[in-house]
């Protein structure tokens, strides 16, 4: 029943799309005022998508296995929480969620943009509807979440246990709010270009939408990263996996876009660049969907691959690209822009420089991600691009990037000089000495590392100083930049201070090295609702005679029958102790990995600070008034 309602709701929404298109065109031609019918229609469309989404959730809660999505991804013994989160833990359901966000955002856009020109609003709605229609047809045609199965199976296939995790339950919705949020930016920029409305007012208004998208995208990436850390048991936070990369690319574009919009808002410069970036952000989000869902990439995440789906998204993606190229080349006007040239030492220049670096990072990630596809198609060679590639190309350029981040905000718009800026030099000297000492203590001897530490500390101190000196002025920017310096510092320390032991042990055996002993005391077996757990008990003794008891788990899920390792992590402010255990098939030996990862929690924490900066900027208008 719920499935039926959900299914019909989708068709109703498609009907509303057609109506909205019709009335939008009518509204464009005839009246001067925005037709409020459009607002009601958009609301109704949103309502039906919500209905459809709830229909799917209810089908999941009731374990209605006549619905093929539920059959494929759920099971009666699954806890209720994961039945619900299973709704968007699969291809069909996640697309429905995607659609929900698309409609929700356009509705919010319409009610919050009442002061904007009518033509611009109608056109934004129109462009957004094109995206919505594309996704609706995609959903109904190739991945209907309400497809029926006959005969009705008595039991479902279950949700992949790795996805049965609280972080991963909220990760997709948040990430999608970021991904899909960029659709509004896309529609809006196309509308603004075609009505020649790229202006300071537009920048001010779209900035809020960029921020919303950016905050959610940042948090979404963070959640994914945390999940990979403890659930996949790889003991790291970033693996340059294609799936991670495709979420990083729109983030880089969005961050760049945000900075350019600031320039646009103040100086009406870089208009074409802002248009390109806005288009790129959503296009990159869509490409991410394509790359992940079509199975063209080989990655840790695999949705059930279906060539038909891949082809559809590919065609749809390129339709949108060519549509935006058309608008950009034939409607976007550059001659109206304010051509004031600017001095080399100014805020704009520093933003431009950082823009360049961001684009460079983006290019590295993009090429690293899709190069294997190109090589496979052109030469049939199968390759993979690993972390060394990214590290080598990105790390050295972080140095000038960090320095520009530190100094840039100190400069004035248009032109500035460096008088009365002696503290800049002083702080630099302090950072340099501090880094030098750290490098000596850690016994790492790379010039690059010293400079990297220096520039990260430099940004850290400068932003820290500004908290005290400037107070509320530029607070949002300062928080975000401070968070970024903290992130880089935590990553550096984490990287240089981590240590690990990998060994195979039988129950009762002890591993000894100079620094620590690991005693494998016993294993216990416990039966839970949907899995059996083998819990190991390990006593880890380091040189300071403190004994940590770690209890990593092996879970044998019944539906589907999969073994997963649950890491046991002891977290404190300074470091994480991380242990995973794995049973090698038919062997008495357990494969043990014990890691000490310093400052792990600071990595997560600093990303939260960064997004908090965005949040602050979003609400800035209110407290300034």
């Amino acid at each position: 029943m719920a499935s039926l309602i959900g299914s019909y709701s989708l068709f109703f929404s498609l009907g509303f799309s057609v109506l909205i298109l019709f009335f939008s065109f009518k509204n464009l031609k005839n009246t001067i005022n925005f037709d409020n019918k459009l607002l009601s229609l958009t609301f109704l469309q949103l309502l039906f998508i919500i209905l459809s989404f709830f229909g799917l959730i209810i089908a999941f809660i009731n374990s209605d296995f006549s619905n093929s999505t539920v059959f494929n991804h759920s099971h009666t013994t699954k806890p209720l929480f994961y039945k619900i989160s299973g709704t968007w833990g699969n291809h069909e359901g996640s697309l429905l969620l995607w659609l929900l966000v698309l409609t929700l955002f356009i509705f919010l856009f319409l009610i919050s943009s009442k002061k904007q020109p009518k033509k611009y609003r109608v056109l934004t709605l129109l462009f957004q509807q094109i995206i919505i229609i594309g996704f609706l047809i995609f959903l109904i045609q190739t991945s209907n979440p309400f497809a029926q199965i006959y005969p009705v199976p008595s039991e479902g296939l279950g949700l992949n246990p790795i996805l049965q995790d609280p972080a991963l339950a909220i990760h997709p919705p948040i990430l999608y709010l970021g991904y899909v949020g960029s659709s509004i930016i896309f529609s809006s920029v196309l509308a603004a270009s075609s009505t020649n409305y790229i202006s300071k007012e537009w920048a001010k208004h779209i900035k809020q939408w960029i921020l919303i998208s950016w905050i959610f995208l940042t948090l979404g990436i963070l959640l994914g990263s945390i999940w990979a850390y403890y659930e996949l048991g790889w003991g790291g936070f970033w693996f340059w996996d294609p799936v991670e990369n495709v979420s990083l690319m729109p983030w880089l574009a969005l961050t760049t876009l945000f900075h350019c919009v600031l320039v646009l808002e103040k100086k009406l410069l870089l208009t074409s660049w802002v248009v390109i970036l806005s288009i790129a952000t959503f296009t990159l989000s869509m490409s991410g969907t394509f790359l992940v869902r079509s199975g063209i990439l080989n990655s840790v995440h695999t949705f059930a691959n279906d060539p038909e789906r891949g082809l559809y998204i590919l065609i749809f993606l390129f339709t949108l690209i060519f549509l935006s190229l058309f608008v950009f080349f034939f409607f976007h006007k550059t001659d109206g822009q304010n051509n004031t040239s600017f001095f080399w030492l100014s805020k704009e220049t520093s933003i431009l420089i950082n823009n360049w670096f961001m684009m460079y990072f983006l290019a590295v990630v993009l090429i690293g991600t899709i190069y294997p596809i190109f090589l496979d198609v052109l030469t049939s060679q199968k390759i993979s691009v690993g972390p060394p590639f990214y590290h080598k190309l990105i790390i050295p350029f972080l140095i000038p990037f960090l320095l520009a981040m530190a100094i840039g905000p100190k400069l004035n718009w248009i032109k500035s000089n460096l008088q009365n800026k002696s503290h800049l030099l002083l702080l630099f000297a302090i950072s340099l000495i501090l880094s030098f000492l750290i490098i000596r203590i850690l016994e790492i001897s790379f010039l690059v590392n010293t400079i990297l530490f220096t520039s990260a500390f430099y940004l850290f101190f400068i932003t820290l100083r500004d908290f005290f000196i400037k107070g509320f002025k530029n607070l949002a920017q300062n928080i975000a930049h401070f968070g970024f310096s903290l992130l880089i510092l935590s990553i550096l320390f984490n990287n240089f201070l981590s240590s690990e032991v990998i060994t195979n042990l039988k129950v009762g055996e002890t591993y000894k090295s100079d620094e620590l002993t690991i005693n494998f005391e016993k294993i216990e077996k416990i039966k839970k609702q949907n899995f059996e757990a083998i819990i190991g008990k390990f006593n880890v003794k380091s040189d300071n005679e403190l004994v940590d008891i770690l209890k990593p788990e092996l879970r044998i899920y019944n539906q589907p029958n999969i073994v997963t390792s649950e890491a046991d992590i002891k977290t404190n402010l300074l470091s994480d102790k991380f242990m995973t255990m794995n049973l090698v098939q038919n062997q008495e030996y357990f494969n043990i990995r014990y890691q000490i990862k310093p400052f792990m929690i600071w990595i997560w924490f600093s990303v939260i600070i960064i997004s908090f900066g965005g949040l602050f900027s979003f609400f800035k208008k209110k407290y300034e008034n």
């Binding site: 059959f71 059930a304 060539p307 082809l311 190229l325 029958n561």
Partner: protein, 182 residues
């Protein structure tokens, strides 16, 4: 000034536009080809595709059957593509023997690019789980089914593929089939 603006615009559309379009078309082409390459890989899906129609020779005889004659309605069929030279086929063989005991299910074998003698030896050695064996000496029937290799197994009901298993069967898949047939 107006002139320079004009030429700027001109340059933008004349050089940049074709360049951008060509590069995007190139990317589209590459991704399109790449997509078709990865197509072969479908891990394990519940499909609702109709079975292909084909004509096929029965193994060890000259008799020809059409797909309609083989797959009747209201009966579950398991079409298993196998070959004597295929090592994973040996691994999944016990599962097929076990499934043979299920009275609601008929197992149809499709002998793929094989020599009759070798195939008969294989069955003599490991027993025959199939109620009917079809012969696909040149591999064309397997292509009709969209199979990419051996072994591959299809669960069929009312002329539709309900489940497709690529690679050898394992305990989970075996249980899934038992459940689906129930």
């Amino acid at each position: 000034m107006g002139c320079s603006a004009f030429s700027k615009k001109n340059m933008k559309t004349k050089i940049l536009l074709p360049f951008t379009i060509v590069s995007f078309l190139f990317i589209f082409f590459i991704l399109y080809v790449g997509l078709n390459r990865s197509n072969i890989y479908i891990p394990e899906t519940v499909t609702n595709e109709k079975i292909p129609t084909f004509k096929v020779k029965v193994f060890n005889s000259e008799k020809e059957l059409t797909s309609k004659e083989i797959f009747e309605n209201d009966i579950y069929y398991l079409l298993n593509i196998w070959a004597s030279w295929c090592i994973p086929c040996r691994d999944e063989h016990p599962y097929l023997m076990e499934l043979k005991k299920n009275k609601k299910l008929e197992i149809v074998g499709l002998n793929y690019k094989d020599k009759v003698k070798n195939a008969n030896n294989f069955l003599n050695e490991l027993n025959n789980p199939y109620t009917l064996i079809l012969s696909d000496t040149d591999g064309t029937i397997a292509i009709e089914w969209g199979a990419y290799g051996v072994p591959e197994t299809f669960l069929i009901y009312n002329g539709k593929i309900i489940k497709k298993i690529i690679g050898p069967m394992n305990n989970n898949l075996f249980k899934e089939i038992e459940r689906a047939v129930k």
